[in-house]
C-alpha cells in the first residue's frame, strides 16, 4: 500500500495571452507515490519541466490544484510557499546548484541554515559518506568537478529529509560516468532511505534508474511505464518521433 507524496489535479499552465498563448500543461492529473523514484520524460517542449516547477511550488498554475502531502500549494502565498519548499522539498537542478561563496559543507546545510534549524549531524554525515565527499567539504564549488558539484547538490537535497526531492535533468551537464554516479546515488537514497524523488529527464538511460516513468507530450500525460529499462524507454520515445510531434513550443 503506497501513499501519495505529491499530486496534481486538472493542472493547466498557460503562458502568454491571445495569439501568443501557449498551453504548456493541459489538464494534467498525476500522483507521485511516496518512497518511489518517478521519472518524467518527454520530448523537448512537452511541458515536463513546467510540470515539475508547478509540482514543486516554483511556478504558479493557471488552473487546477497541486498538493504536497496534504497541503494545497495553489492556496499558499509566497511566504508560506517558500517555507514549504524549505522544509518539505529538496531540489537538484541541471546546473548552477550551489552558491559559489559557500563551501561544500555550507551548501549542503544551506536549507537548514536558512530555516535556522540544527541539522541532524548523524544523518548529514551518513549522506556525505554515501556521496563520497568527506575529503572535499571545505572546498568552494569552483574547486569541485561537475560531478562532485552535482553530488553536493544531491546531498543538500537530502540533508533536510524533505518529503520529496525534485531533480531537473540532474545529469544533463555531466559526462556519462559522473552521471551514473549521481543517478546511482539518487536510486540508493530511494532504496535505502525511502526518499521520494521526481526526476525530469529526456535521457532514457537516466530514466532507467527510476521505478516508474511518466511520458508527457504536448502538455498531456500520454503513457507510463513501471520498472523501465533504457531500451524500453528508448523504444517508447522513438514512437513519439514516428507519431510526430507537431508542437514546437519553446517552453521546456
Amino acid at each position: 500500500m503506497t501513499t501519495t507524496a505529491a499530486r496534481a489535479a486538472s493542472l493547466t499552465k498557460i503562458y502568454g495571452e491571445g495569439e501568443a498563448q501557449v498551453v504548456a500543461l493541459d489538464g494534467v492529473d498525476i500522483s507521485i507515490d511516496q518512497g518511489r523514484f518517478t521519472a518524467i520524460m518527454g520530448p523537448s517542449g512537452s511541458g515536463k519541466s513546467t510540470l515539475m516547477h508547478c509540482l514543486a511550488g516554483l511556478d504558479s498554475v493557471s488552473s487546477g490544484q497541486v498538493w504536497i502531502g496534504d497541503v494545497d500549494l495553489t492556496a499558499l502565498k509566497d511566504k508560506a510557499l517558500t517555507a514549504l519548499r524549505r522544509d518539505k522539498v529538496g531540489f537538484v537542478f541541471q546546473s548552477f546548484n550551489l552558491i559559489p561563496t559557500l563551501t561544500a559543507q555550507e551548501n549542503i546545510t544551506l536549507p537548514m541554515d536558512i530555516a535556522g534549524t540544527k541539522p541532524d549531524q548523524q544523518w548529514v554525515d551518513l549522506i556525505i559518506d554515501t556521496v563520497g565527499l568527506r575529503s572535499r567539504l571545505d572546498h568552494k564549488p569552483s574547486e569541485l568537478s561537475g560531478g562532485q558539484q552535482q553530488r553536493v547538490a544531491c546531498a543538500r537535497a537530502l540533508a533536510s529529509r524533505p518529503e520529496i526531492i525534485f531533480a531537473d535533468e540532474p545529469t544533463g551537464n555531466l559526462d556519462s560516468r559522473s552521471g551514473a554516479e549521481v543517478l546511482g546515488f539518487l536510486r540508493r537514497s530511494v532504496d535505502e532511505f525511502g526518499q521520494t524523488i521526481v526526476m525530469v529527464t529526456h535521457d532514457p538511460n537516466a530514466a532507467s534508474y527510476a521505478q516508474r516513468v511518466v511520458f508527457l507530450a504536448d502538455g498531456r500525460i500520454v503513457d507510463e511505464m513501471a520498472d523501465p529499462t533504457a531500451e524500453r524507454v528508448l523504444d517508447r520515445m522513438k514512437r513519439f518521433d514516428i507519431e510526430g510531434n507537431p508542437t514546437a513550443d519553446p517552453v521546456s
Binding site: H53, L58, D59, D78, K79, T82, A83, R85, R86, D87, F91, F93, Q94, S95, F96, N97, L98, I99, P100, T101, L102, E106, L110, P111, D113, I114, A115, G116, R156, D168, E169, G172
Partner: protein, 847 residues
Amino acid sequence: MLRASLRNLVAHKLRLFLTALSIVLAVAFVAGTYVFTDSLRASLDTLIQQNQPDVTVRPAAADFSPEFQGAGEVLTVPTELTGAIEDVPGVVMASPQVLVPNVVILDDGKPLGAETGGFTGGTAIGGDWPDDAFNPNTIAVGEPPVGAGEVAIDTGTADQLEVAPGDTVTLLLPSGERRDFTISGTTEPRAGSNFGVSFVYWAFPAAQELLLQPGQATSIAVLAEPTASQQVIADGIRPLLPTGLEAITGEQIASQVSEQLDSGLGFLNTFLLVFAIVSVFVATFLIYNTFSMLVAQRTRELALLRAIGASRGQVLRSILAEAVIVALVASLLGIVVGAGVARGLQLLFQAAGAPFPSAALVFQPRTIIVALTVGLVITLASAILPARRASVIPPMAALRDEQPRTRGLGRRTVIGGFLLGAGVGLAVMSPQLAEYGTTNAAIMAGVGALCVLIGVLATAPELARPAAAAIGSPFRGVVGRLARGNTRRNPRRTAATAGALTIGVALMSAISVLAASTQASVAGIVDDVIGADFVVTGYGFQPFSGEVSAAIRATPGVAEVAVVKQAPARAPGTGDTLITGVDPQDIQRALSLTATEGSLDDLTGGTVALDSETAAEIGAGVGTVVQVLSVVGPVDLEVVMVYEAAGGFTGYVVDLPTARELGASQQDNVVYVVKETEADATSVEADLNLALEPFPNVQVLDQSAFKDSIGDQIGQLLNFLFALLVLAVLIALLGIVNTLALSVFERTREIGLLRAVGMLRNGIRRTIVLEAFIIAVFGAVLGMVIGVAFGALLQRILASEGIEKFAVNGAQLALFLALAAVGGVLAALWPAWRGSRLRILDAIATE
C-alpha cells in the same frame, strides 16, 4: 560597430542611467562652481558699474582690501569745497555725501541678528539720502527721509525687523547715543543687491549732524556734463583739493573695486573647484567601476563579435564609442544640473551668513567647455582600461564562459605598497620642513597624503578580504555568511566601491581633526595667555564706543581694564592687516605675551612690537625701522619687541596714541577685564552686564564663553566645508547602489537558487543590505584612518601657526562612521528590493 554601441546603450537603459548619473553629478559640481562665481561676478559688476558718480572727491586713503576698510577713524571731506568744485568747467552738480559704517540697528534692545551670529552683528551702514542723480537706491515704499527724526531703511532689513513706513526703529549711533526714529520709507537698490548689508538713510543735514561734525562729509559726488571727460574734470578738480584728498573718476573706482573682486572671487572659485575636483575624482572611481562591471558582463557578447570577425581594435572602439556617447549626454545634463548646484551654493553661502544674492545664473562658454572636457576625459579614462581588458580575451575562452581569471593582485599591490611607503615617508618628513615655511611643508604633506590615498586604494583589494570578514563577523547565520562571501568574492570591486567613500570620509575626518585640534589649541592658548577674567567684544566683532571701557572701570570688583584698538594698514610681511593698539602696561596685566627679544615696556610713540614669524619673514629685530602704510600715509616705526604670537595677538602692536595717529578710531575693538582677586566672578559678571546695559552692541564673555565663541566660528566653517564634501559622499553612495544593482543582476541565478531552497524575500534583501553595510563600513574606516593620520600631520605642520594641540572629536568621527553605514544601507535598499523581486524560475531555466 557604432550601431552595436548604440544598440547596446539602448538595450541597457538602467546601467546607462547609473553610469550617467555619476558623470552628471561630477560635471554638475564643476559647472555649478563656475556658474556660481560667474553669476556672483555679474551681479557685483552691475552694482559697481551703475553706482559710481562721474567723479568722486574723497580722502586719499590707501585702497585696502574691503575687509579692512572702515576699520579705523572715519576720514572726512570739508563740505565747503562743494562750491569751488561746481565752478570747474563741465561739472553740472557737486553734492556732499555721508556714508559711515557702524550704526547699530536694535531689535528688542539687542543688535539685529546678534543671536543668530550674523556676520555684521546688526551693524548697518548709515548715510544721507542723496539727490536722485547720485542715488544708487530708490524708495520702494513710503517717502524719502525728511528732518532729524526720520530714516529710510533698506527693504531686507525692514522685513527682518517686521516694520513698515510709519513705524519706529531704534538705532545706536557711533557716538554711543541711542535714539528712536520714524521710518519714512523702505529702499531698494536700482540694480543688483545689497548683499545682505543693512542701510539706514537720513536727510543730509541729519546724517551730517548724527554721524559727523558740522561742515564734514565723507565724500563729494560730482555729476559731469554728458559730453565731458571724467578724467578731464577730475584733473580740473584736483588743484582745488588740500592734501589728503583725491579726485577719482567713476571708471577708476569701478576698476579698483573690480580688481579687488577678481582676487576675492578667484580665491572663492579655486576653493570651490578643489571640492569639485574631489567629486570628480570620486566619480572617476565610480565610472571606472561601472565600466569594468559592464564589460565583464558583456565578455561573451564581445567575444561573439570577435568570433564573427570583429578586430580587437573594433571591440575596443565600440566600448569607447559607447563611453563617448554616455559622456556627452551626461555632461550636457551635468551642465543643466550645474545650474541647480550653483543655486545650492547660493543657498549654502546664505546659510553660512554670507548673503550672496540669488541672482540670474550666468553660463559662460568657458563653463561649458570645461564641463564637457571634464566629463569626456574622466569617462574615457575610466573606460579605456576595462575596454582593453575585454579586447584581449581570446574569443573562444569567453564564449566557453570561462570566467576571465581575475589577474593576480600582485603587480597592483606592489605598486600600491610602494606608493603607500613613499607617501608615508613624505608625510612623516614633512613637519621637518615646517621650519622653512608652512606652505612647503603642507604641500609636501599633501603630496604624501595623495600618495598614501592612492597607495591604500591600490592595495585595498588585499585588505578587502580580511576586512570584510572582520566587519561581517558579528552577523551570524546564513545571511551573514552570504553577505561576507559576496563582498570577498570580487575584492577589486568591493575595494573600488568602498574606495570612493574612503576619499570623502578621509577628507571629512582630516578636516574634523584639524578643527578639533584648532579648537583645543585655541582653548589652550586662552588658558595660557589670557589672564583676563572677562573679554568684552562687540557682536560680530564690530567696534564699540569708548564709553564702554569707562563704564567697565567704574564697575565694582574690576581691578584692571585693557583696551584694544585697531587701525587698518598695509605692512611688510603681513600685507593688508589691522595694527593693534594697546596700553603696554594695561595689556600685560591682561595677557601674558612671551617676548623673544626686547620688552613691551619699551613700547612708546613711534615704536612697534612684532610677532616672531613676521619679524623673521622681513628680517627685522629690535632696532629695525619698518615703514607701514596707514590711512594717513606712510609711517616709520622702530621695532622694540619681538613676541610669540598667541591668543589672537599677532602682527604689529603699537601703543594707543600711535594707533590713533595711524587712523584707529575713537571706538574700541576689545576690552580685557581683570577682576579683583577676592571678588566673586559671578557677581562681577552680573555687575558688568548691568553697567553695560546702555551698550547693547557689546557682550561680556568669561573665559569659557570666549572659548566657545571662537569654537562656534570654527564649527560654522567646519559645517560649511562638510556641506561641500557631501556631494562627493553622495556620489560614493551612488557607487554602492550601482555596484549592488549590477551584482544583483549578475547573481540572478544564485538568488533564484536561494529562493528555491527556501530563502524568503526578506532574507535576500537582508543579504544585499548587509553586503552594502560591509562595503560602506570598510570604506569609511579606511578613510577615517587616513583622514585622522593626515589631520594629525597637518596639526604638527601648523603647530608653529598656533595649532599646538592634537585633538580628535571622537563623537564626530563616530557620527561619520554611523552616517556612512546608514548611507550604505540606504544605497542598498533599491538593489535589495530588485533582488528580492527576481523570479525564481530565472535561476532554474537552463540556457
